[in-house]
């Protein structure tokens, strides 16, 4: 999530959301793990 967070911290929230969405969409399982839950929470936050 580091690249997405960096982008968000630079004020590029939409870019950050796109980056994180692209990563998140590669996964089809493991949605109960910390990484994916954090990613989901950030995506919801960045809406």
């Amino acid at each position: 999530m580091s690249l997405s967070r960096l982008s968000q911290h630079q004020g590029k929230t939409e870019h950050a959301r796109q980056l994180l969405t692209a990563v998140y969409e590669w996964f089809t399982e493991g949605f109960d793990t910390a990484d994916l839950q954090e990613a989901k929470a950030l995506l919801e936050q960045w809406g």
């Binding site: 580091s2 980056l19 692209a22 990563v23 996964f27 493991g30 109960d32 990484d35």
Partner: protein, 131 residues
């Protein structure tokens, strides 16, 4: 040919690379991806390193290099993020003349080999036998 699927670890993307038995053994023993070897060994399409999301698709490619062996690559969330940033893509496997594939392929272009190798060294990409 029998296929043994490795245990899928949650929180990672499990992909499969089936190849000849010597290359599979080398990958399992830690050999890094080599641009020279990829260019020399390509059968069709541009050189690169290809991972299948479905083990049955990977087996097809092993059959082209029989006797084959399979390797599972488990990519962490961090690994996927890093690889995407250097041009690695996931797409449907292009159909062959006589075969339709079940899943996708993760395409690692030659330019991304160094990053891929570093992710293996740091444990963000884990390797296990798959066939």
């Amino acid at each position: 040919m029998t296929t043994q699927v490795v245990e899928i670890t949650t929180g990672s993307l499990t992909t499969f690379h089936d190849t000849d038995i010597v290359s599979a053994r080398n990958l399992l023993q830690g050999s890094p991806l080599s641009a020279e070897e990829a260019a020399a060994r390509k059968i069709d399409g541009p050189p690169g390193f290809f991972l299948a999301t479905e083990v049955d698709d990977a087996v097809f490619f092993a059959l082209r290099r029989a006797p084959g062996g399979g390797v599972a690559f488990r990519l962490s969330f961090q690994a996927v993020e890093t690889l995407q940033a250097v041009g690695v893509i996931r797409r449907r496997i292009p159909p062959g003349k006589t075969i339709q594939f079940l899943g996708d392929e993760v395409v690692i272009p030659l330019e991304a080999f160094g990053v891929f190798n570093r992710l293996r060294e740091t444990g963000e990409i884990a390797v296990a036998p798959a066939l």
